[in-house]
Amino acid sequence: MKPFAILANGQALPLAAIPVLEFAKFRRAVIQGVSEDLRLACLCADRSLAGYAVLADEAAHEFRVLRTTFPPVFPSLTPECSQAHLFERELAEQWGLVPEGHPWFKPLRFHPPWSGKDAWQRDAIEPGVMDFYRVEGEAIHEVAVGPVHAGVIEPGHFRFQCHGEQVFHLEIALGYQHRGIERALEGGPYKLTVKMMETAAGDTTIGHAWASALALEALSGTRVPARADWIRAIALELERVANHTGDLGALSGDVGFLPTASYCGRLRGDWLNLTAQLCGSRLGRDLVKPGGTRFDLEPARIADLLLRMEEMARDTANAVELLFATPSVLARFEGIGKLDPHMAKEVGLVGPAARACGRLGDVRIDFPYGPYSDSELPSTVEETGDIAARARVRWAEIQASVAFLRGALDALAELPAGPVSAVCGALAPEHLALGVVEGWRGEVVHLAITNADGRLCRYKVVDPSFHNWTGLAIAMRGEEISDFPLCNKSFNLSYCGFDL
């Protein structure tokens, strides 16, 4: 018998169908899987310390789910599988589990444990107070920034170990935005569940709301009307285009190239306004709900969207092409903030940041959901892994999304009129379901597990930023500290998505 169960995206399984492995076997199976080029998409435990691992098998287009019970102290997976490093710190903080031999064993989000004591036996928990890595030496100095930053951005603390201008090491301490979202979902779903999903990371409202809907629909056996699927995909791609456009503008702003910075700043707002045409909210609030969507797009609205989109796509192309045609801009992007494919794999990088270092992988292509099963999306891989590559991937994705949107709006117009939602009823008891969506930053994973009463006993959210912050820290090694803002923008990761 295989030591794992196979699960497709948006599918539920009875817990009984997932073999419970003795911990040593579980550990081996996870490490073995990752060494065979699978990716650790999720690792977590519930209140009873039942452990779950989800491995993404991109080549086979399926997920492997493994199950165990965590002993209070266990040999850390991290030395042999670095993709587990943050998950293990999370287990230590949430449940007081001790992964022995973890090479970088520190708190993660600075919150009290869900029960008992955490692995460090802390009583008082102060944000950002931990044992930061320090480089010693006469010419070494430390630069500490945040949590409050000099702009309209979320809080986080950055510690640089510098030799002159050169960064030897950057350590990032987050958790300032921690609102306890996962804990709040225990025992749900509640009236606030959809809102919590939408606000896990506000700029990824559609991404998180859709992933959560996929999981809950799987658990309740709800069939979503085709219209709703298309509307969700339209909203998801608009979210992607708006954010990528804004980020390309921000990147040009950071190198002092103001034309693209100002045009893209305006255009990002205009793309968000298109989402508001769907549902009244620029961020897509209250559009996606378990069972479907809360708004339909009637023919006149579709025609209007198409018209506006074409105009904005032209303006966006004009603004972005200017950026790539300006050698002084490219000189600042090329060769800076590099990550190689090997390192990308080690950290389990996802999304555009991973594609920029030559790693394939896109949930829409590998684990298609909704209308992506029948759509051809081009792969947007770049090889150089630097800021320029991340910018190019974003631009390629904007173009691909616009092409997709054209087709999607047409497809929706051709569907017969009908409901856009179905009733999402009670959840099957003692089941596990997975909802995974390619958000604009990458893979958004929602893992939902129900108890005997059909209530959620564990709900795990993995925002793409969870993996990718480590990528940013490593990309800064050896770079000038003055390049940090630029490098940071090229990733543009979510603090609240990480902090939950």
Binding site: V148, G151, Y176, R179, T199, G202, P259
Partner: protein
């Protein structure tokens, strides 16, 4: 250079003319709710029961706390008689917490301008320090957009600055998580008096979707931070934020 020039021509002039002219708002925008208690059925509790943030109090007719409301329209869907509707009215800012309580038959009291003395201090130049204190980054998105050329906040003398020492006002987003409490208080302390505090979004006013969470304080209200201007929404539309700021400075013209 030539290309930059051509592109400049193509992109044109894009700043909207608010408050002279209101830019077109999305048809589905959910603005100020309209309560019509005359339609309420006796003993009906449908709206209050479906509201995710308990923003509706029945006494016995509904009263909506806009400081807690997420504008999700669950109440509209629940109401059997259409007694709660959402208008497209984007003007929502208020000066006091009590003014955010919306009752049937009572006109919503929009924010008034600062007193003459304060207006003479801040009216021509208001520097904002934004503190993101634990929300979802949604309010930040809609505050940020005001600095783009589409809105050009600078034309009103309002500017976002990097240091609290340079600021006249602290604009708070997010429910103020426990982990951000110290940083938020320090930022407030570092801002010279006299200063203003502006709470943007349901989180900063009351905790928003996180109001039941122990991990946060319940916004400025829960943290005991006095607020000069409340801008409700989840998140508020940029126009709602701009209108609130202009109202405070007596520049709204309407």
């Amino acid at each position: 250079m030539y290309k930059i020039f051509l592109s400049r021509l193509r992109q044109g002039h894009r700043t909207n003319h608010y408050p002279g002219e209101t830019p077109s708002l999305p048809e589905r925008l959910r603005g100020l709710p309209i309560l019509d208690a005359g339609h309420c059925l006796e003993g009906c509790r449908a709206c209050a029961e479906d509201c995710p943030t308990e923003a509706i109090e029945l006494s016995p007719i509904p009263r909506i706390d806009l400081g807690q409301c997420l504008f999700c329209t669950a109440c509209t869907e629940a109401c059997p008689t259409g007694a709660i509707r959402f208008s497209q009215e984007h003007r929502l800012a208020a000066r006091t917490r009590a003014d955010l309580l919306l009752e049937s038959g009572r006109a919503f009291k929009l924010a008034e301008a600062l007193e003459v003395k304060a207006r003479s201090l801040f009216g021509r130049s208001l520097k904002l320090r934004v503190v993101s204190a634990g929300g979802c980054n949604g309010c930040e998105v809609d505050v940020n957009v005001l600095s783009t050329i589409g809105w050009d906040l600078g034309r009103f003398g309002i500017q976002i600055v990097a240091s609290p020492r340079h600021a006249d006002a602290v604009l708070i987003c997010g429910p103020i998580t426990k982990n951000m409490e110290l940083a938020t208080r320090k930022t407030l302390d570092a801002t010279p008096d006299p200063k203003l505090v502006i709470a943007v979004g349901a989180c900063a006013i009351s905790g928003g979707p996180f109001l039941c969470q122990e991990e946060q304080l319940g916004g400025c209200g829960g943290a005991g931070i006095p607020v000069d201007l409340y801008i409700p929404g989840c998140p508020p539309h940029p126009l709602t934020i701009l209108d609130g700021l202009l109202r405070l400075l007596g520049k709204s013209g309407g």
